[in-house]
Symmetry: C2
Subunit: 416 residues, 2 copies
């Protein structure tokens, strides 16, 4: 494409609607009305859709029934799952056309989304926008089936659970869109989970780095989509599919004109399991001897703590996703190359993190966090920090108390 | 492909299984067992599958709900409907792999099926078998999603209702298969509908021409697949998915060694509506003036009869599919360029045809048919003939009586 022809294009907006906003024909029509309203603003609209409601779960159930419990072939699974988004994208295009607006659906492959060949969690390698651009230039609203792409082999791939967000941001980057709008069943990004404290406040904006920490730490956004936004500086607007309330704009910090607080939000992840390997004979290579077999078995390890004791042994503790605890213990018992006394598992934990870009240059935030938790009798099990967050592992039934105290202490209910 | 490499290939068998044989995971497993048995005979197996049970109807219902009764965009409809066959083909490949047999699913486009761009009833233009051949050469069972192909535009097309049979025969031709096997919920082709007379006999074989008449006239086979078989001389074997009973081989007449009867079978179509336009002023161009508006409105006309009367007017009668009767009457009342007295519709009719390649050279079969019907008091409303069939339109509630009498008169219960 030449610069000349690019200048002729209208501004592009990419919107993404999740499956819970598209669960039945009536909801599809409500979303169609929102798409039409955006299109009538005189912009080119590209819409990315997820599969309807729980149709992806139904396809998973079918595949399990057919393989009688064995793991279904991942290449076949990807083509099977890709049908869910094809159904929504074609229904949406039909709904728009039936209401007199020109529209066309494109599958991931038709939208030019090229990926690597890792079935089940493929990465986008490139997007060839020729066809998409041609459809926009005809004045059409383009509906793209999210979550899917095409490997060089000609096989369908999927990008992993929740990756329609990634499709949307990647298409926004490839089409040089003004911004990517993610419409979902929440009204935006909050200082913390509103179910934990009624003081939780919706953020008008948040930086990519902070949002990335919030997403990884439990906020309901796909971290890969935030990473993409960060790398290509593509603003991402998160808002509700059901209301017209203003949502949250995720963007590069340099755009921020106002003075920002150092703490932006509190992220909570209740999906935490803990494994402690007690009485490990303290020799070089312990960590590798324990962690390599886990990596080989595909178990992701999160927070790691190692305490040396005086008797020549050590306790090695780490956290994993709750669902991986049993497997992690089994792998260590069967495959680790380390001598130890016993393996103890814990499953009543949660992760509470204070996130904010200001913290790296402002001392005292960790101390404030720990003293606040101490004042409300919340015991801290493990601690880990990065430049822009402080994470504590605490007991799960103390999460609400902890979040409410931290939200007050860092004055998150006040607007910036 | 060189002749050398072709000689290295194992024989290819194409099998097709219909949706009623694949309605749930358990049935998919039973069909998988049949596929495995065939594969273990040492042949390359290509399997064409339809959508599971009534899933196509469910997708139609969704599209209607979304367009609120308006006709859904045909291009979107094709991609939507194509997902049904993708689901079955991937589930079948998973089932085979889970049981230790290497298998791969291919969508219509992946199987190289190129079509014209007529959405909803596309015709196969060409089949590029490179990918399919590569998969077979790896020792894999290849499962192809039926009913679908790819237009030059890169859009998905569908071949029309019941056209997975067409996919199967076309793939058999393209892969130079030994034969195409269609497995369905009947045990083969019968001399007539077994529900009408217990003397109905399953045919061991039937010629393409005769089968084509039987198919067009109501037998449960897709006529386009028979046409393909005829043109490319590809034998088609029709049998039950549920039993191991011998089915019927449809093939070119020249292969038949034995002496054949002149009458092969009796076809019945209960889906017949009749429109009579009374008191038409008899001028040149009546037929065109009545039929052109029907063609423009997409109404197919079947049997046509015109009686001239002495008063300068004529009655013009034709049949259509039952579902088109009301529309046909409306079109004539609003758009025909002919003067007439009244339009009368009839919907209690059926079509009974005697089919057999021998008839064209053997006189007296029409007379025998009419006298047989007369003996059992069946009134003939309309008559039409071709070289290899005699068709009568009679009242629907006389079908059983007519078929039993004709089956006896032409001695169809006796083997050839």
């Amino acid at each position: 494409m030449t610069t000349q022809s690019e200048q002729d294009h209208r501004p592009v907006i990419v919107q993404k609607y999740g499956g819970s906003s598209l669960a039945d024909p009536e909801m599809i029509h409500k979303v169609a009305s929102r798409i039409i309203a955006k299109s009538e603003e005189g912009v080119d609209v590209v819409v990315v859709v997820s599969a309807m409601g729980d149709s992806t779960d139904e396809l998973h159930a079918l595949s399990k029934a057919v393989t009688k419990g064995a793991t279904p072939d991942p290449r076949e699974m990807d083509t099977l799952l890709s049908t869910g988004e094809l159904v929504t994208s074609t229904l949406m295009a039909m709904a728009l056309k039936a209401r007199g607006h020109d529209a066309v659906s494109l599958s991931g492959p038709q939208a030019g989304i090229k990926t690597d060949a890792v079935h089940g969690s493929a990465r986008i390698a490139d997007i060839k926008t020729d066809r998409l651009r041609r459809e926009l230039d005809k004045g059409r609203i383009v509906i793209v089936a999210g979550f899917q792409g095409l490997a060089e082999s000609g096989d369908i791939t999927t990008l992993g659970r929740g990756a329609s967000d990634t499709t949307a941001v990647a298409l926004a980057v490839a089409t040089k869109a003004e911004r990517c709008e993610i419409y979902t069943d929440v009204e935006g990004i909050y200082t913390t989970d509103p179910r934990l404290t009624d003081k939780a406040r919706k953020l008008a904006e948040i930086g990519f780095q902070e949002m990335l920490e919030m997403a990884v730490l439990g906020a309901k956004m796909n971290p890969r989509s935030i990473e993409l936004g960060l790398v290509y500086d593509m603003p991402i607007y998160v808002a509700s599919s059901f209301s017209n309330e203003t949502g949250t704009l995720i963007h590069g910090g340099e755009h921020t004109m106002e003075v920002r607080k150092v703490v932006t939000g509190i992220a909570v992840d209740r999906n935490v399991g803990k494994i402690t390997v007690r009485g490990v004979i303290d020799r070089p290579g312990i960590a590798a001897g324990l962690l390599q077999p886990l990596a080989d078995a595909g178990v992701s390890v999160d927070v790691i703590v190692q305490n040396t004791s005086s008797d020549g042994t050590t306790d090695f503790t780490f956290t994993t996703a709750l669902a991986s605890v049993e497997k992690a213990a089994e792998v260590i018992e069967s495959d680790s190359t380390v001598e130890y006394a016993e393996v103890v598992t814990g499953s009543n934990l949660a992760k509470v993190s204070v996130v904010g870009t200001g913290m790296e240059n402002a001392p005292g935030y960790a101390a404030k966090m720990f003293s606040t938790l101490s004042e409300v009798d919340v015991n801290i099990d493990m601690i880990t920090t990065s430049e822009i967050r402080i994470t504590t592992i605490i007991e799960r039934d103390q999460v609400q108390k902890a979040v409410q105290a931290l939200h007050d202490a860092f004055e998150l209910e006040k607007t910036e």
